[in-house]
């Protein structure tokens, strides 16, 4: 049996394990270890697993994962997300679809403290959905705005998607974080335009809220100012070159914890819950990294990435044709796999091809993360849709999927713009890092 065929069978086996309910991390670990065992023997397989496992859990750059998750969880427990939402509503609530726009803005800002799209959708959904229901918003628009807005958590730094991509491709986490800023703002703007267009077509879907006096607007904004300042300090610190991503994550988590206790916004019990939630989520994410780190050497030994690259180049589709093929594959996979799983399973295979085609690795990271975000709201497996459905009692799943559809189009527009104008993703990192 050729190594390529062996690798192909390994991938089939990996997917078979996942279908048979094996967690993604363990499916990768089993396939990677089993493959190396058969190809290189038990000694090499065991050595690879221990070395890769220990290097993953003791990786300095991966420390941003628990730190930023803690930052998001403490903010959520302390109710700081409520202040963000109130501030956004005070400024845009009086417009048609204002509550949905406030939800999108709230999601975008909360994304800057949370690296997870699910956490963003849950946190803002709990605050915003009851308000939108109270004001008589259409269930499709209200749930769609939250489900789509939540996906910003995966793009706007700090993003666990970028951290995983950086670990898998050995790119700089700081560069990727900074690269996500403009595309994140672009997508937020496109989501706001989407809300406006939806309510233009159907004004009853998003009635105007009460206008808030200017002085009151500033007062409410002031309540969100401390958290906004922490976001500026931690993310701005990376951009300004003051902090490394790890330092920024530690400073952000430390400041938000201090703020929560000083303002008596969190109890010890609340902090304990936030910490426990953080360590469990972190363990889950690290296990995925361990699995991917053990799978990758197996794929490399079987020459799968190189063979796939040669096959794609052999199709003579040109760089953009091949890219379109990759994106199409991601969209299809995104219908069945969750974002993180898709990232760790596909990047080791696709990344060498993309580099061979001459694309910028940082730019591709942004493209990949946006396509994965799309998968979070496409049927049948749209993780964010499920999460929002869980919060929005009585709203059928089909209504939520109908609600996210216009936002999906906005994401496609964002993707096309970023492919047509790569500078949207590369300008900031190139300006900052050279």
């Amino acid at each position: 049996m050729t190594p390529e065929l062996f690798g192909f069978l390994g991938i089939v086996y990996l997917f078979a394990l996942m279908v048979l309910r094996t967690p993604v991390a363990l499916a990768m670990l089993i396939t990677g270890f089993g493959g190396m065992y058969l190809l290189e023997g038990p000694r090499a397989a065991g050595a690879v697993m221990l070395t890769e496992g220990f290097s993953a859990v003791s990786s300095y750059s991966l420390i941003v994962v628990p730190m930023f998750i803690l930052l998001g969880n403490v903010s959520s427990q302390a109710g700081f997300s409520r202040a963000l939402y109130d501030a956004a509503f005070a400024w845009v609530g009086r417009f048609r679809g204002g509550l949905a726009s406030a939800s999108v803005i709230g999601c975008a800002v909360f994304s800057a403290v949370s690296g997870s799209s699910v956490a963003t959708a849950v946190t803002l959904g709990r605050v915003a959905l009851p308000e939108m229901r109270r004001l008589g918003y259409g269930p499709a628009l209200s749930t769609g705005a939250i489900a789509a807005g939540g996906t910003l958590g995966f793009l706007i730094p700090p993003s666990t998607g970028f951290v995983q991509y950086a670990v898998l491709t050995e790119e700089s986490i700081g560069r990727l974080f900074v690269a996500g800023i403009l595309p994140g703002l672009l997508l937020t703007a496109l989501f706001l335009v989407t809300v406006w267009l939806v309510t233009l077509r159907d004004p009853a879907a998003g009635p105007r809220g009460e206008a808030v006096a200017l002085a009151e607007r500033f007062r409410i904004l002031g309540r969100a100012a401390p958290l906004l300042s922490i976001i500026v300090i931690s993310i701005g610190g990376i951009y300004a070159g003051i902090f490394t991503p790890v330092e920024a994550s530690g400073v952000g988590a430390g400041l938000v914890t201090l703020l929560a206790f000083v303002r008596r916004a969190i109890t010890l019990e609340g902090f304990r819950r936030a910490v426990l939630e953080t360590v469990k989520t972190s363990a889950m994410l690290y296990m995925v990294v361990i699995g991917a780190n053990v799978l990758n050497p197996f794929l490399a030994v079987t020459h799968i990435p190189a063979t796939l690259g040669e096959a794609m180049v052999g199709l003579h589709l040109g760089p953009y044709g091949t890219l379109a093929l990759i994106i199409l594959a991601y969209v299809v996979l995104g219908m069945f796999l969750d974002g993180l799983s898709m990232l760790v399973v596909t990047i080791p295979i696709v990344f060498p091809v993309v580099i061979q085609l001459g694309f910028d690795p940082i730019w591709f990271g942004v493209v990949a993360v946006i396509v994965i975000e799309m998968g979070m709201i496409t049927p049948p497996v749209g993780l964010n849709v499920f999460v929002v459905k869980g919060i929005a009692e009585g709203v059928p799943m089909t209504t939520v999927f109908r609600g996210v559809f216009p936002f999906l189009i906005a994401m496609i527009v964002a993707l096309v713009l970023i492919i047509a104008f790569p500078a949207i993703a590369t300008l900031l990192p190139d300006t900052m890092f050279g």
Partner: protein, 170 residues
């Protein structure tokens, strides 16, 4: 005494153990955050860099992950693909759950064995970090212990699944 009492009791005991370890992981996380925060403040505000803080933080991250992993495993919090759960039927889910745990137990047991040997080696040869000369073996031991508890949890889960038989709910 019904046959499934023993695995249920073992499962409850392991859950308690994993929660206690998760609490220790939480303490490590808070320490890690405090160290990074204090190191940054000391460096920028007082011009006093804390040397070797990276090494402590890296080792603490081993503690955070390995002490929290059993709790994550006990609660079934690992991310999975459940789109075809209904399609594979009750026997497919039953076989899949057992196969998944059997294979995981085999692979993680190998990892535990390797980690134990590495910890013993590192202790014998005095392996230490570059700057602070912190011994590395306790962290390999922690990896082995965390993974070993995961193996025990997976074995008990497999026993419970085996005793309960195929179920209609996914």
């Amino acid at each position: 005494m019904p046959a499934h009492i023993v695995p249920i009791a073992a499962s409850l005991w392991m859950r308690r153990c994993s929660l206690a370890l998760a609490a220790l992981a939480g303490v490590s996380l808070v320490l890690m955050m405090a160290l990074v925060f204090i190191a940054v403040v000391l460096r920028y505000a007082f011009g006093l860099p804390l040397l070797g803080v990276n090494e402590i933080v890296q080792l603490l991250s081993v503690a955070v992950v390995m002490l929290a992993l059993p709790s994550c495993t006990a609660e079934g919090a690992h991310v999975g693909v459940d789109i075809l759960d209904r399609r594979i039927g009750r026997w497919g889910r039953y076989a899949g759950d057992l196969l998944s745990r059997a294979l995981s137990v085999w692979v993680i047991s190998v990892l535990v064995g390797r980690a134990v040997l590495k910890a013993l080696d590192a202790r014998e040869f005095g392996d230490a970090t570059n700057m602070l000369q912190l011994p590395i073996w306790p962290f390999y031991a922690m990896l082995a212990a965390g993974m070993a508890l995961c193996v025990a949890i997976l074995v008990v889960q497999a026993l419970l699944i085996l005793l309960q038989g195929p179920r209609d709910d996914s």
